[in-house]
Symmetry: C2
Subunit: 249 residues, 2 copies
C-alpha cells in the first residue's frame, strides 16, 4: 500500500482541534491541491472562502448547529458552488449564457466541481498530518451564512471544511459492504440480496457502536437512516437555490 | 512536497489508454478508497458500476459523444448518485422518508457524496501509475445510459471515470489564479479586480493553447466559457432528474 492510498484509507472525521492556525503556506498548498482537481469542461465552477476571524467562526458554528469545531480549528474553509463569474463572463463576452447557468445540469456541474476540489483539499490536509471535518450543517441556515460571507447571486455555500491539528482522534466507521456499493456491468436488482446485505451491515454498525459506547448505543444503520430521513431537514433548499438563480430550468 | 500532494498536483486528464484490463485487486483498492471518503450524515448515497463488457463500453462511448477512451481503457467506472437503497430502507423501517428523498437538499447531498467518493478513486488510481478521465458526456443521453446500466428509480448515473494505463500524456492546464478562487473572510466583490484577474488568466490560457498547437489555437478562457454556455447543453436534465423522483421539492 502506497502513501496515497494509506492516507485515503486512514480518513476519519476529526471533531477536536488545537486552537493553532494553519500557516499561509499550508493554506496555499491545500487550495492549490483543490484547484488541481478535474473540472467539467474546464468550467471551474467553485470558490473557496477561508475564515480566520474568531467572531465570524463563532457565528458560523452556531448556525451549523453549535458545532464547537467550526469555531476552534486551524482554518475554516467554506466551499461554494459558483456560477457568478460565468454570469460576469456572459456580460463581458455579450453572449446569452443565462439559460445555461439556470439549468439543473449546470447546477449539478457546479456541485460536482466543488466536491471534487474539496476532496483534494481534504486529502492534501490529511497528508500533512492535519485532521478534517466536512460541515454540512452550514446548509441549516444558508440565508444567514450568505449574509456573513457576502456571496453574490449564483454562489451557494455548500459545506465547510474544518482543518487543523487533531487533539482527539476517533475510530473509522465501517462502510457499506463492497458488494452493496459496487456492481459489475449493471446495477444489482436482486432486492432480497440487497436487503440481506443491509442486515449484515446493520450488525456490523451495531457492534461498532456497542464497542465504542460500552454498550449504551447499538443503533442499526438502516434505523439511523430512516430516522434521519423522517426528519425532513432543510426543506427550504429548493426555494433558496432557485432564489439564487440556479436549478431553475 | 509529499507523495500525496505530488500525486494531486500532477493530475491531468488522460485520453489515450492501453487496452489492458485492471486487475480485480486494483479495482477493489480503487473502490475501497472511494468508500473511505466522508459522507454527509453517514448517508453513503452513491453506487459505482464497473463496466468491462466491450460491447457495452462501445455503446457508452457513442452516447458520450464518440469518446474512444470510454471504450478503450483499463476499466470504466460509472459513479451514480443513489437514493434507491434509502427508499428500500424507508419501506423496511416503515418510516415516511419520501419527502426527504425527493428534496433538493438530499439531491445535493447525493451529488456531493458521489463526487467526494469519485475523487478519492481518481487519486488512488493515479497513485498506482494509472491515468484517469472523468466522463461528463454520459449525461448527454441519460435515458439510454440508465437502460444500459439498468439503474432503478432515484439512481442517477452522474459521470464515468475511465481508468487505465496511459499511452499518451498531455500537459497540465493552468487553473484560475489563486486570488480568484480563494477569498479571505468574505467573497471578493470588487468587480473590476475580478475582471482584471480574468483578463490575466485569458492571457495565460491563450499562451497555453498557442504553444501546445503551434499557433493554430489561442482561445481565451472567457471566450471558451461564453461559447460553451451559449450552447445550452443537456437542458432535459431537470425533467430527467424529476422523473427519477429527485430534486422535486
Amino acid at each position: 500500500m502506497n502513501k496515497v492510498i494509506e492516507t485515503i484509507l486512514n480518513h476519519r472525521s476529526i471533531r477536536h482541534f488545537a486552537d493553532k492556525p494553519l500557516t499561509d503556506e499550508q493554506i496555499k498548498t491545500i487550495v492549490s491541491c483543490a484547484q488541481a482537481a478535474a473540472t467539467s469542461s474546464f468550467i471551474q465552477a467553485y470558490s473557496i472562502i477561508g475564515v480566520k476571524d474568531k467572531k465570524k467562526k463563532k457565528q458560523l458554528a452556531e448556525l451549523a448547529g453549535n458545532q464547537e469545531y467550526v469555531a476552534v480549528n486551524g482554518h475554516f474553509f467554506v466551499f461554494c458552488a459558483d456560477l457568478y463569474r460565468h454570469t460576469l463572463i456572459g456580460q463581458q463576452e455579450q453572449k446569452s449564457v443565462i439559460p445555461s447557468l439556470e439549468s439543473t445540469e449546470k447546477f449539478m456541474v457546479a456541485l460536482i466541481d466543488t466536491a471534487l476540489a474539496a476532496q483534494n483539499a481534504a486529502i492534501a490536509a490529511e497528508s500533512i498530518g492535519l485532521g478534517i471535518c466536512y460541515i454540512g450543517g452550514l446548509r441549516n441556515h444558508l440565508e444567514e451564512v450568505k449574509a456573513i460571507l457576502k456571496t453574490p447571486e449564483r454562489v451557494i455555500p455548500l459545506f465547510g471544511l474544518a482543518v487543523g491539528y487533531p487533539t482527539k482522534v476517533t475510530g473509522k466507521k465501517p462502510r457499506l459492504p463492497f458488494e452493496h456499493i459496487y456492481h459489475e456491468e449493471e446495477y444489482e436488482q436482486n432486492q432480497q440480496e440487497y436487503l440481506q446485505q443491509l442486515r449484515q451491515y446493520d450488525d456490523v454498525i451495531s457492534s461498532y457502536y456497542h464497542e465504542r459506547t460500552n454498550g449504551t448505543r447499538q443503533d442499526r444503520w438502516t434505523e439511523q437512516m430512516a430516522n434521519m430521513l423522517t426528519r425532513q431537514n432543510r426543506m427550504y433548499m429548493k426555494d433558496f437555490v432557485q432564489k439564487n438563480k440556479l436549478n431553475l430550468r
